[in-house]
Symmetry: C2
Subunit: 484 residues, 2 copies
């Protein structure tokens, strides 16, 4: 089960001459893969020169001839090209449709995919204070291992069947009970399990949006909302997010001017700011939403990180025009993928059809069983209690260390792992992020979160990923003015 490639290849390749050739092919493929990964993660940009043959051979611990073969094949594939006497360069591949090509023009180098691909595809030697998840060793290992062993014992249909179209009933019951504790009365039939929180939003977008519609998001907001909405070919309008939620005057103005079909938000522990909507703002926003007849997606993915239930548009509204979505990727596992939607019954019915059409159902029983197991045996509650205490301490520690570098948290969040921070003296976050990346530190620069592209002076930090001194050293050095 480990990614031990040496072992993997030995098992499959007997040491014959054919085996040697295949081994050579494998080495070549590994080098090609490494180059493609650098390109995919923007470490190598279109037009940029590739590492020298000799240098890259040393890095990859292969012979220079392997690198030559790899570069030649990459050139044959059109991914790179050779300039006579100069070396190899990254090609600008022609694409029939790229999400990054659609919608408002953002900074193409630091676009909404920048943080996702950097952090998802980063090797183990890369530090990721810009990423959006907790380190694996903060997660409930024992509970998950117990769940896997229990599944192995259970066997049968759980391991092999698609499961119900709405997802496992026991998990839907449990979620409905949790919502009811918040004052949101729903029946399990109003809960639809999805393979992820992102897919939950995607499904709802498919249901309500047509190309050319406008969607309102917070500015700043989670960068992937923008990427997702581009895939739907809709216009995105932003509304300033204050320390107590969206600016209600600008919100009303945006509803009048843009007539959005949807508003997508994190009301509680907003990403990236960590702010939470106040009850007064929630009430006003809901009145405006009702008056203008739009639908709200409340992404409650960080709700469990708060020590107490937070103000919620979905609860206030009773699911008339607000849809709540969430997932367990942040609190339990992003590997066992499971999200949910809770909404009006008639909408859920139609979303079930859409999910069958586009994914032949939701998460399989293996995923929902694992989630249900951890949620129902008390280990989730204990895990979350410990996590809240640990994160509160980390938020204070990291805020102190950042402030010593002149980086100032915008507010002190009531929970979660993000600190949204302003940089000193007009420093540019994108420049700092590029510089840090060269030293194996992935940061999240403000503008990837901003529709208006006005957050150049901000960085979002994940306090759980900032134990290493190197993070602060790299930050300090990256913040030095050029030539300074």
């Amino acid at each position: 089960m480990q990614y031990n490639f040496a072992k993997l290849y030995c098992t499959h390749l007997p040491y014959t001459s054919a085996g040697k050739r295949m081994e050579q092919d494998t080495r070549t493929a590994t080098v090609m893969e490494a180059v493609k990964r650098k390109i995919a993660s923007r470490l190598l940009q279109p037009g940029e020169k590739l590492p020298s043959i000799r240098g890259f051979a040393a890095t990859m611990r292969v012979s220079p001839s392997t690198v030559v073969t790899a570069y030649d094949r990459l050139a044959a594939e059109g991914i790179i090209y050779a300039r006579r006497g100069s070396g190899f360069y990254v090609a600008d591949a022609a694409r029939p449709f790229s999400v990054a090509d659609v919608g408002p023009q953002l900074d193409r180098e630091i676009d909404p995919f920048w943080v996702s691909r950097q952090s998802l595809d980063a090797g183990p030697d890369v530090l990721k204070p810009g990423c959006g998840w907790l380190p694996a060793d903060w997660m409930p290992s024992e509970a998950m291992q117990r769940g896997l062993r229990a599944l192995a014992r259970t066997g049968g249909g759980h391991l092999f069947d698609y499961g119900e179209t709405r997802g496992a009933l026991n998990l839907r019951h449990l979620l409905a009970r949790q919502f009811s504790e918040e004052g949101l009365e729903v029946n399990p039939g109003q809960v639809l399990l999805t393979p992820s929180g992102t897919q939950a939003i995607d499904l709802i977008c498919r249901f309500f949006l047509r190309p050319g519609d406008t969607v309102l998001v917070d500015d700043p907001c989670y960068f992937n909302f923008q990427a997702l909405l581009k895939a739907h070919r809709v216009e995105v309008a932003g509304v300033s997010f204050t320390r107590s939620g969206p600016d209600t005057e600008l919100f009303e103005e945006a509803l009048t001017r843009h007539k959005p079909k949807l508003y997508i938000t994190n009301s509680g522990l907003h990403n990236p700011t960590g702010a939470t909507i106040s009850p007064q703002v929630a009430h006003k926003v809901l009145n405006l939403v009702t008056a203008h007849g739009l639908v709200v997606i409340e992404d409650d993915i960080f709700g469990s990180f708060a020590p107490e239930p937070l103000p919620s548009l979905a609860v206030l509204d009773g699911l008339e025009c607000v849809i709540r979505i969430g997932s367990f990727s942040k609190t339990l596992s992003a590997s066992v993928r499971c999200g949910y939607i809770t909404a009006r019954t008639d909408w859920i019915e139609a979303l079930v059809d859409l999910q069958v059409a586009t994914n032949f159902g939701g998460p399989g029983p293996v995923a929902s069983d694992l989630v249900y197991g951890v949620l129902s045996d008390g280990s989730y509650r204990k895990h979350m209690e410990a996590l809240r205490v640990r994160l509160a301490k980390k938020r204070r520690e990291v805020a102190d260390r950042l402030e010593r570098l002149g980086i100032t948290p915008w507010l002190s969040p009531r929970g979660g792992f993000y600190l949204w921070c302003s940089l000193p003296d007009g420093r540019d976050a994108a420049t700092i992020a590029r510089s840090a990346l060269r030293r194996n530190v992935v940061l999240a620069p403000g503008n990837v979160f901003s529709v208006s592209q006005t957050m150049t002076g901000f960085l979002r930090f994940n306090v759980s990923q900032m134990g290493a001194r190197q993070v602060y050293d790299v930050l300090e050095s990256a913040m030095k003015p050029a030539g300074g």
Copy 2:
């Protein structure tokens, strides 16, 4: 881990008066859920009368007052409504957008969702010769259980992290090697893992299609292609599928007339017919496709069921304009969901972005580790060998039994679990399917597979789900002419 609700509620509900009230709520919820499921699965249609209070109370083993409460709440939710002195009826819920409302008008009762929802949401007492998967006890239990235990031992990031944007490299390497054995040379960077085969197709459709485009499918074809394409709001054109692939004359005519952007097909062991494209037809189709500049999605989900590699458009084309997709849902597990796309590098790069935008990546490491484990340790090969032998025998047996009822297989497939059969004397498959459903047997009537709605005389049978004598009894009785 078992769906033992009695136990579940006991754990959570101490037997106090509050507990009693909650238990009562739970019973009510269970009754409501049962009704909703009947509605979702079309067992109860809009306008149809609900079971009597007393009768349903007996069925559900609850008190009549629980059923009254449940019906009242369902009425409050607008799902059913009361007619004074007459009882309760299923409401026709208003929906802002229903996939079933878009695209060519099909028979609304027997639409492409009919089989999916019937078979996915069927209880254990329902027989499913119309469904599209193998029974759980035909699947490699030991290998999967070994995989789960190995994952529990490994722990760490595999259990908690998102994984790479393309999916696990070891599984992509393994798939690339398998393709190469077929003569399709791809590198692992050209393989993108997806959460399912359906999502693989969905992602490609998002990449290439715009609302209003036309897509060509086989007639008949897998019913969910139609449901999926409706969600993309495109026109669907069908081309007659012969025993050796699509009719090439009609294919050319369709390309000229409809100018489709995409053609989606199963070349090998086609669903529902079980036919396989001949090398000659494959060659002709590929020439036409190249001449007209469209893209082909070859869904190879049934390829592994054939005893030898089948003719393939993707292999013949070398992935110039053909994209291959597949999954392990049919051969290994539909609960551990994992599919793949292999295509040109530039397309894959853009599809990676799209999958990040719409699902924040592909299947998590838990899913890909489980699949990789079974695929790499030899147990998959053994499982498939045994499965092919078992299915060949079943196909013969079931064909014999069906022929005794006057139901005739259209051809004898080279592998897989489907038999596409014609009914005697102009019998209508939809009528038979409705009648069988009342006796807890889910069938797959021809027209759910047909764009032209000309397959009224066909049923698709899954030979692995036809061991019970009841299937044949119900079939025989359902085929009797009315009053006969």
